[in-house]
């Protein structure tokens, strides 16, 4: 099984530790993982802003980098979802459809492809899970509160096996954090209010650390937490799963 690692643009530049944790974790799990050096961005920032046409170059570059792998794994539900859902703007060659079918968010890959739940991590803290929307309602990494059906969560499956970890429960378990890409800037007032409400819910639930599958949501929440000097830490789920404190 040949796995290509996609590190989203903002993780590459601003949160390299998330990329490092992801790579180390996959290697620990004996995955034959390669990081293709020509990668940039999945194209989502332009596309969600209404400039899908400007993202064609990024889409093509993505496919070029990952067409030869059995799986593409990324520590971002949002990017994986974008490739799956919106790469219909470039011609659907075999390479494109393969990449779209084989792209996986990290937890999804570990639980549903590797069929592993216990990654031998230790992390003795109270963890509040932020279920990023594109992972939850886009990739269906877990059941959401709107739909009627069995309850499940790949993220919680993994965290429940982490030694010492205690999951807290929110009053609104899957409300959006308010990041939303350029929304964070164009609808600044609402974005900030949503983030503040989300953080309050986590604080009320007794969480010490907020984690998620998406660094973009976390960057927004961390920005608010740091500005308001609130007693919460923010870590990408890869960092927790790769942890052995």
């Amino acid at each position: 099984m040949k796995v290509g690692l996609f590190i989203p643009c903002y993780i590459n530049q601003l949160y390299p530790q998330v990329g490092i944790a992801t790579l180390e974790l996959l290697e620990k799990l004996n995955v034959n993982v390669t990081y293709p050096s020509g990668q940039t961005c999945c194209g989502q920032p332009m596309a969600n802003s209404g400039y899908e046409s400007e993202s064609v170059g990024a889409c093509n570059n993505f496919v070029d980098n990952f067409k030869d792998f059995d799986y593409v794994v990324t520590p971002s539900g949002s990017c994986a979802y974008h490739v799956k859902k919106h790469y219909d703007i470039i011609p659907q060659t075999e390479d494109v459809t393969n990449v779209r079918n084989n792209v996986y968010e990290l937890c999804d890959f570990i639980v549903n492809i590797l069929k592993i739940k216990n990654v031998n991590a230790k992390f003795p803290y109270k963890i509040g899970v932020h279920k990023s929307c594109h992972g939850l309602r886009g990739l269906r990494l877990g059941s959401c509160s709107e739909l009627v059906g069995p309850s499940f969560s790949s993220i919680e499956d993994l965290l429940n096996e982490v030694e010492g970890a205690e999951l807290t429960s929110l009053a609104r378990k899957d409300e959006c954090c308010g990041f939303g890409g350029t929304f964070a800037v164009t609808e600044e007032a609402i974005s900030v209010k949503m983030g503040k409400d989300k953080i309050k819910d986590h604080l009320d639930s007794g969480a010490e650390v907020i984690t998620a599958t998406d660094t973009s949501c976390l960057m927004h929440l961390e920005g608010l937490i740091n500005r308001n000097k609130q007693p919460l830490k923010v870590l990408h789920i890869a960092e927790i799963l790769n942890s052995s404190i």
């Binding site: 802003s49 400039y51 093509n60 929307c133 309602r137 886009g138």
Partner: protein
């Protein structure tokens, strides 16, 4: 005013935002409780979606069938291409019956057509009889929600309105007292009305009948007492058969308020002996929306308002911030089809979280349609130069790995080295209330290269 501006004004009063958010979340919560108790809920949604999709794919024939049957039932049928024609038709019916006093039950269509001011201009009194609608009518405001028209009003505000207009005593906003006073006030209006106007929730092609749902009983009080009943409906209200009501009446109230069904689901077919019944069938942009493959599913909407109650943006910005007859997520995919420029900010008033699509009882892919409207809006309406240019630049940077690396280096250096005051200065909207990440010395790329070199 665009949505973002209106929303930031609404957010100046954080307590009110919290109050509004909680009130609507409470309704969303009641909806959850109700639907999770229904065996086969997701099948019910699939059926609702399927029946609506089928109906639209055969709409002209169903409209003809509906008209034929309604005529057989002794109902007069009128056709209006747009809102103006709708208003003229209603006006002419009222004139023909010399009707001066009209009671109206909830109809978003008549809101959309701006019927009230049209009739009032000719001296006709129009009383909205749904309590929430009456409240906003007295306040001279449009509804801020399609099911809960006065959800933005506090009980104290209602108390003051009623003191001023209905002569009630100050009650500190006692809902029981205020509702009782409204009942007395509206009883007088029902008894003296010359005509009743209602909306239509579902129109049945097979029988020519139509169904109106209310909790208050106001549609029935109006329609059964007045000598003339005018029912106004958009062409998308059709369903093929009466048995399909079984699906939609199970979906509607649970999604709207968490009730298992509305108090009254009234099935009108023939007028009372000696009375008149009219149906006005309205297009007003609907056939155009039908022509758009990406957006036609928006016509499935049964106006439950669940997408508003669940929308984290709607809850924190209020219905009026959308400046459209139908606010919230569903309004944001319907309105651009009517006036792309006026409503160009609405599809961007979303994080694309997808909760609206999952809560929708007829499975409209609302968030996907929001995304698609964005693509159209940036092409067909004027966009700020900076936004356009930066998107073009990003597109180029991300298409070529070398450029991406160079730009990334500069950005990280800036985050590390520029003073906070510069980083969070005015052009950086992000930094108004949020810190930016600190800007690490090395990117993941740098780290990976080093690691590879060390290994060799």
């Amino acid at each position: 005013m665009n949505h973002s501006k209106a929303a930031s004004i609404f957010n100046k009063d954080e307590k009110k935002v919290d109050w509004h958010d909680k009130a609507l979340w409470f309704v969303r919560h009641k909806r959850d409780k109700a639907v999770h108790a229904v065996e086969g809920w997701e099948s019910l949604r699939n059926y609702g979606h399927g029946i609506k999709a089928h109906t639209l794919s055969n709409l002209d024939n169903y409209l003809i069938q509906f008209e034929e049957n309604a005529l057989k039932n002794g109902v007069q049928v009128h056709w209006a291409a747009d809102g103006d024609e709708h208003n003229k038709i209603v006006h002419s019916i009222l004139k023909a019956h010399n009707a001066k006093k009209v009671v109206k039950s909830k109809s978003m269509l008549t809101e959309e057509c701006h019927l009230n001011p049209f009739l009032e201009a000719d001296g006709i009194e129009v009383i909205d009889t749904d309590l929430g609608e009456r409240i906003v009518q007295l306040a001279k405001e449009p509804p801020s929600h399609i099911v809960l028209p006065a959800i933005h009003k506090t009980k104290e505000e209602v108390d003051e309105l009623f003191q001023e207009h209905l002569g009630t005593k100050p009650s500190g906003g006692d809902p029981q007292y205020l509702t009782g006073e409204a009942r007395k006030h509206l009883r007088k209006k029902f008894i003296s009305a010359d005509a009743a106007i209602t909306g239509v929730n579902f129109a049945i092609a097979d029988t020519g009948g139509f169904v109106v749902c209310t909790n208050e009983g106001n549609a029935d009080m109006g329609a059964h007492l007045a000598p003339v009943h005018i029912a106004c409906m958009g062409i998308e209200k059709l369903i093929p058969k009466q048995e399909h009501l079984g699906v939609f009446l199970r979906l509607l109230a649970r999604s709207a308020t968490g009730q298992p069904i509305t108090t009254y689901s009234s099935h009108f077919k023939k007028p009372i002996n000696g009375n008149k019944m009219h149906i006005v069938i309205v297009d007003n942009g609907r056939t155009e929306q039908l022509s758009r493959p990406d957006f036609r599913a928006s016509l499935h909407c049964i106006r439950c308002g669940a997408c508003m109650n669940t929308c984290p943006i709607y809850r924190r910005s209020g219905g009026h911030s959308y400046d459209a007859t139908i606010p919230g997520p569903i309004g944001s995919i319907l309105s651009p089809g009517k006036d792309l420029t006026k409503h160009s900010s609405l599809p961007f008033a979303s994080t694309l979280c997808g909760s609206c699509s999952d809560v929708c009882p007829v499975k409209i892919d609302i968030h996907s349609q929001l995304y698609k409207w964005r693509q159209i809006i940036t092409k067909e309406t004027p966009q700020p130069f900076v936004k356009k240019a930066s998107m073009k630049m990003m597109g180029k940077v991300f298409a070529k790995p070398m450029q991406f690396e160079r730009v990334g280096k500069v950005a990280r250096w800036s985050l590390r080295n520029l003073p906070k005051g510069v980083i969070n200065s005015k052009p950086n909207v992000w930094g108004k209330e949020r810190d930016l990440p600190s800007g690490p010395t090395e990117s993941f790329d740098d780290w990976y290269k080093k690691r590879t070199e060390n290994e060799q």
